[in-house]
Symmetry: C2
């Protein structure tokens, strides 16, 4: 009969014990495999993370990996959890939830710079890994001085992480594209810019041409990041909590144009 490891249980990987009660002791650990996968992704990008490659990096046969990781998607989950251990959550919150949140966001940004594959491999469903729980708990601790409902706090956390992720993806997009591109470095970007200049010179996009024409001379990315996030947090600051009534009147709700699919 098939071994229990083969029967496809819809189990979360974190619910499955690392070591089975019976049988020989595994030659590797989850942490080892996660570290190997992270090493591969750091060095070769997320597209380099294949079961064969990670198995080779771990030092075991390809199919042996499936004893530790039932599906490749779970390997991603292991990877995200592994790098999430890099969060430094040792210092207790200062009491200034705004500053602490910005510091946390800064850590997330740094994490994503160290592991550029993180935004692509992270998914909202990864919220149950040990380090994700640790991170969430700490974030809620940071937000304790904030006078808001629990659901609002969770919303804030999601928004902050979403914004950080979006911001970093923008920051890294050119580098990522250059890394993936099969052409000499810079050539693709040059072709893009040439095309953009050609389009803008046609006069069909006057406002865009005006904005892009003035140039983006050496913006301070760190300052821009803080400014953008600070604006988001301002929206959560008490005292200005009220939604402006002029909004919901004119904005489009989704109900009327949701697809029937």
């Amino acid at each position: 009969m098939a071994a229990s490891g083969r029967t496809a249980n819809p189990e979360i990987i974190w619910a499955r014990p690392e070591r089975a009660a019976r049988g020989p002791r595994p030659a590797h650990t989850r942490a080892e495999i996660a570290a190997a996968a992270v090493r591969v992704a750091d060095a070769e990008g997320p597209e380099g993370v294949s079961m064969r490659r990670v198995a080779a990096e771990t030092g075991c046969g390809t199919m042996s990996l499936y004893n530790y990781v039932p599906r490749k998607e779970d390997l991603y989950e292991l990877m995200v959890d592994a790098v999430s251990a890099e969060y430094d959550l040792s210092a207790p919150p200062s009491g200034d939830w705004r500053a602490d949140t910005l510091a946390l966001a800064g850590q997330t940004r740094a994490l994503m710079h160290r592991h550029p594959w993180l935004p692509r491999l992270m998914s909202p469903a990864h919220g149950f890994s040990p380090n994700a729980l640790r991170y969430l708990e700490y974030f809620l601790w940071v937000l304790e001085p904030l006078d808001a409902e629990g659901s609002t706090k969770m919303e804030l956390i999601s928004m902050v992480n979403g914004v950080v992720s979006a911001y970093v993806v923008n920051e890294l997009s050119e580098a990522e594209r250059a890394r993936t591109s099969p052409f000499p470095p810079g050539q693709e970007h040059a072709a893009r810019m040439a095309h953009l200049a050609r389009e803008l010179s046609g006069g069909a996009y006057p406002r865009l041409a005006g904005v892009l024409g003035t140039g983006f001379a050496a913006v301070d990315l760190d300052a821009q990041f803080e400014r953008a996030l600070g604006r988001l947090l301002d929206g959560f600051a008490p005292g200005r909590a009220g939604r402006r009534q002029s909004v919901s009147a004119s904005s489009v709700t989704l109900k009327e144009n949701r697809s029937p699919r």
Copy 2:
């Protein structure tokens, strides 16, 4: 000798003419192929979009696709541009940049609900497609009443799109996971919830347990979406433009912990 279509030019697909000067007239158009790919992605998800599948849907041989699309990544670009044509940008801005921006964000959200693969396939590098330029131009038109620098406006656009994308990914994550999961519907989610409950009952995450324990009874997603975005826009509203000085003092900058890679 190799045909020019084969030599790998780092050209942007939008810079390459749809119809070559010489040779027989192509049997299909870019729009046809993009529509076919969108049809496949809508019906089977982004992982169903293979060159073979799209070629079959288009009604041509697999390798004939490469006459229209040099690489698969360019097919993604075609798809994103194709659905971006669904934006209704006919009405001139009302003069209320805040309301108009929320309406635009609502359109983006609706678009992503109709095409759930959009957030995953969209990349910041897709900003040069015809419909992306049209969208950007319109957005800048909407923002004309806002007294801010061009770079700030571009920042706002990026942030809004980032937040909308992050929000929708969160909204759709459970449905997407159910669609991808090889297990009976709901079973995976149930297993996740059971695991979460088990973890929380251990007492290691008291704040998280408190927040999640109160339950999220039937939140109004539309209202939540508007509230979240409204908060973001509040940060851009003039009169409160100044960054709070307490911020940059205590927040973590990236310079000190950027990886040398």
